[in-house]
């Protein structure tokens, strides 16, 4: 029986350390199966205008089992603190939950966050009793400021959103984790299962991903791979890896060899 190792964010306990998105899937049905295969307990969703002219579209919420998965509204594609704050407030009202994955984007091409605006929006939303999970650049100083501002977790990127480049900043992530008093969630950059395992081996408390699963040829199989990788990475981190050495260290006894 494995030792219980829950993830706790703002007093809420999760068994799964894999947080998933809900975008870019070929259909809601595939998304629902992928969420199941991922074993996800938290799903992030975007807040957008209702299509007034075409009401025929199915509702995303019909495909997310809200009894088993927490809805995490996000402020994706918001470029100012004001936009992000408005979107967070609307998300809270639509979802009746005060959690928000806070994104304030500063650059269209890289989708890197606008650090100043992110900090400002965090301060405002924390005052309004939001549980703020900010998507942040891999900067330990900024992560500390966000934490001081009341963020419930910090979510540094491993690489640009949707890039699939894998963890490009292992040392920064390790430093962020070493100093953080709130959970560190690696958000964005994962391309395949080994990337998720690396993030967890570095000590991350959780990994958040969307494109790596939704964009895979078989999203459901990839979701399962990610689930296993996150679990494996976490276990390896807790188990304590051996130090890296330059040269070989024999695993078998050197005495008693035949013919010597």
């Amino acid at each position: 029986m494995p030792t219980p190792d829950p993830l706790v964010i703002a007093g809420r306990t999760f068994t799964s350390r894999l947080i998933v998105g809900s975008g870019k899937y070929s259909s809601f049905a595939v998304m629902a199966q992928a969420h199941e295969a991922a074993g996800a307990e938290m799903v992030t969703v975007a807040v957008r205008r209702v299509n007034i002219h075409d009401r025929s579209k199915e509702s995303l919420l019909d495909y997310i089992d809200t009894n088993r998965r927490v809805i995490l509204p996000n402020t994706a594609a918001c470029f100012t603190a004001e936009e992000a704050i408005r979107t967070a407030r609307l998300g809270r009202e639509a979802g009746l939950s005060n959690w928000v994955k806070l994104e304030v984007i500063g650059d269209e091409k890289t989708l890197f966050p606008d650090n100043e605006a992110l900090l400002e929006a965090t301060r405002v939303l924390v005052k309004e009793d939001f549980v703020v999970l900010p998507y942040v650049i891999d900067d330990p100083v900024l992560c500390r400021k966000l934490e001081d501002a009341g963020a419930a977790a910090v979510m540094p990127l491993g690489a640009p959103i949707g890039s699939g480049l894998g963890i490009q900043n292992a040392n920064n992530l390790r430093i962020i984790k070493e100093h953080a008093r709130v959970p560190v969630i690696v958000d964005a950059g994962v391309g395949t299962a080994s990337d998720a395992a690396v993030a967890m081996e570095l000590g991350a408390d959780a990994v958040l991903m969307n494109t790596a699963i939704a964009g895979a040829t078989d999203p459901i199989a990839m979701a399962r791979a990610m689930r296993l990788a996150v679990e494996a990475g976490r276990l390896a981190f807790l188990a304590g890896r051996i130090p890296r050495k330059m040269y070989a260290t024999a695993s078998s006894p050197l005495e008693g060899l035949v013919g010597r």
Binding site: K24, T44, R49, R55
Partner: protein, 128 residues
């Protein structure tokens, strides 16, 4: 402090209008509002609940902003939308990463060495 940080300020004109309507006042006329960024005509003034119903929108699934202030669900019946008002109706859609323009390549190409370096491949073929 920035404009968006202001708290809801009760609009006395609107409350007066609500009272008039409740007391069987003047019948509604056609009003033009800005709905999700577009001009929209509706028999009004109307409550948020009535507006949602006329659009066949399930009020449990959406959030509504009236003149940049979020309307609590409990106040959908009593919040009145009138001429020139701005209304945003939003819901949850699939997302996690914004589509943005991230798909377009960066100016500096990412070095991506082949799994087997070409020097090794060449060496093998010479030996073979």
């Amino acid at each position: 402090m920035a404009k968006h940080l202001r708290l809801t300020c009760p609009n006395t004109r609107r409350y007066a209008l609500l009272r008039t309507l409740r007391q069987g006042g003047a019948p509604p006329a056609l009003v033009t509002i800005t709905l999700n960024g577009e001009p929209y005509q509706v028999d009004g003034p109307v409550s948020v609940s009535t507006l949602l119903a006329s659009l066949a929108i399930d009020s449990r699934r959406v959030a509504v902003e009236h003149n940049q202030v979020v309307v609590r669900r409990a106040l959908f019946d009593s919040t009145i939308v009138g001429e020139g008002d701005a209304v945003e109706i939003v819901n949850f859609v699939g997302g996690g990463a914004p589509a943005g323009s991230a798909a377009s390549p960066l100016k500096i190409p990412i070095p991506c060495p082949p799994l087997i370096p070409s020097s090794l491949q060449a060496g093998r073929s010479r030996r073979g």
